[in-house]
Amino acid sequence: MIPNRSEYLKQQALQGQKIMGVLPALYPKELLWAFDILPAEIWDPPGDIVKANRHLQTTICPIVKQSLEFILTEPGIVNAGYLFPHTCDSLQNLGSQVKDMIGVPVPVYTFYNPKGNFNKATRAYYGDILNEFLQVLADVHGPPDIEKLRAACELGLKIDGRRIELQQARMTDRLSLNSQQYFQLIRAAEFMQPVDYLYLLNQVEIQDEPLKSHAIRFLISGILPPNDMTLSFLDDLGIGIVAEDLLAGSRRIPIATLDPPADPIEYLTDRFFLLPPCSTKAGSLDHRQQYLKKLASDSKAQAVLFNIVKFCEPELFDHRSLVKSLKNEGLPVLSLETELLPGLSGQTQTRIEAIVEMMGDEVLA
């Protein structure tokens, strides 16, 4: 049902599709769609990191390493450039390194998202960088077609709307997908054509009535979901991930409904400022705490799982305070660390089983 990322992109490239390799996470996809460019995020699937280690310190996060490994061993998919949004300092530095030192045969673009507490000036800045990026793309791919851009925004709006419906359905036990299937669906947004992706989202059936509830309901927070083996293990223990606060997931979806786009730049600006709080935007920690508590309450989550990417500075800066704040609310918290490798270590199993025991089942079968 969900295509394999590498195979899908190879097929797209063979068909002559313009493909831009994109680093996570917040960037205006609609602008790229309007120029018939397919943004393909290059931080997955994980593989061996060999060449990238020559260029990076050991304390750089595996997302940066994985992305650089892709760039250095690129299998002939990316033909329209690379885009580095300013997600964190490490990704920003990687952009400079790829552009100025390593060198690639395609253009390298940057997109500096605003950070901190937002105000009128930040909003004006965001509008400016959207227009600048539009112009940069126009210099290479020809003048923008505003009608096409408006249509791209409308398509994005439909995708957002369906994603919100599916999130709500997940929270209320009306989706029959297990955790692995659900996150594969969510992450397919990182590489699929928007029309294909919307079709895929619309294929997922939302039940009228709630299905059997999970034995234990978890809210997950972090950059990306755990790997498939870990998700299966959670499923086997009766742990359902009923809500998510992931940079690869709901942090990319506005928290309120938007009007159809009259002015695309205005629409994209509104959309950005309606995204949920996120460590990579360096906003108010208090806002993030309140948001997570509400998400836990709305989804009736009984515990919170933080899936922390090793050396991920933005997440780690917030993590300690978030854990304390959630524990004060009486929510058990489980923190796992990932290096984006497949497999499930005995230590990780022990941590997961321990929290299940803590919440009730002293003996596991």
Binding site: G346, T350, E357, M358, E362, L364, A365
Partner: protein, 263 residues
């Protein structure tokens, strides 16, 4: 029910421990057996030895709970429970006012908060690095050409100390080599090593907090020097079981008993 016996089998990285208890909770047999490379085989052998030691037949055992990193390999177990829960229950059984358990094992260390029944309320775990574990001490003892008993002597922690890395066993080992090359007295190095482990444990303690009495479990609890430094750092007395290594297996046996009663 009165003749019923229960078993806890803790398959750890260094040793496999078995404790058999009766329905009154009294220990009837206790075995510590080297795990080696085959946890399943070690579990079976240790269990057989415990039965033999207690003069107990297999059918007297009503439930067996497996714990430890090799818990999934214990084919004869009726259930499995993490060592985190088991250390909490075991410590509570030995010291009923225990509110916090510090378990320092061969390859990881944990701080566990427990309630009035020994049930886990929260935990913090160091499982990514050998620093702050029994393995750290083994490596350092080898470097200092001492055995673990000599290293554990509390007299070594009463005098001067040197600063040693608490974040990495490999770095700490090279620091020790440099200190030895500079003819730093061994007592000062040992004192520094004990404090290095305690600093690592301390970071876990402050992440979840202390409540009630503190009981230390795991093989490293036999290290009197470390216990002295830890008590000094915490400003509290630590409960030290006679057999800290078998507290996990003891807890598993009690969980087996609880489960049986509940059925």
């Amino acid at each position: 029910m009165s003749n019923a016996l229960f078993a806890g089998v803790d398959v750890g990285s260094l040793s496999t421990d078995v404790v058999l208890i009766d329905s009154a909770g009294a220990t009837r047999a206790e075995v510590v057996f080297p795990t080696g490379i085959n946890g399943a085989e070690a579990a079976q052998k240790a269990y057989d030895l415990a039965l033999e030691q207690g003069g107990i037949s297999r059918d007297q055992i009503k439930a067996v709970i497996a714990t430890g990193y090799g818990r999934a390999a214990v084919a004869f177990a009726s259930g499995k429970t993490t060592e985190i829960s088991c250390h909490g229950v075991g410590a509570h059984h030995l010291f009923p006012d225990t509110g916090t358990v510090i378990d320092i094992g061969g390859q990881d260390s944990k701080v566990i908060q427990v309630d009035g029944r020994g049930r886990m309320l929260d935990f913090s775990m160091n499982d990514k690095c050998a620093a702050g574990t029994g393995r750290f001490l083994e490596v350092m003892a080898a470097q200092l050409e001492m055995n673990l008993n000599e290293l554990s002597d509390p007299r070594h922690v009463s005098g001067e100390s040197v600063q040693i890395s608490s974040t990495c066993t490999v770095f700490a080992e090279s620091e020790v080599i440099s200190l030895l090359a500079k003819h730093t007295p061994r007592e000062q190095i040992i004192n520094g090593l004990q404090r290095s482990i305690v600093n690592r444990i301390w970071s876990m303690v402050i992440s979840i907090g202390i409540q009630g009495e503190i009981t230390i479990t795991g093989g490293v609890a036999k290290n009197k020097g470390l216990v002295t430094v830890l008590e000094e750092k915490l400003g509290m007395h630590l409960n030290v079981p006679d057999n800290p290594q078998t507290v996990g297996a003891l807890g598993a046996a009690h969980i087996a008993q609880r489960g049986f009663k509940d059925e």
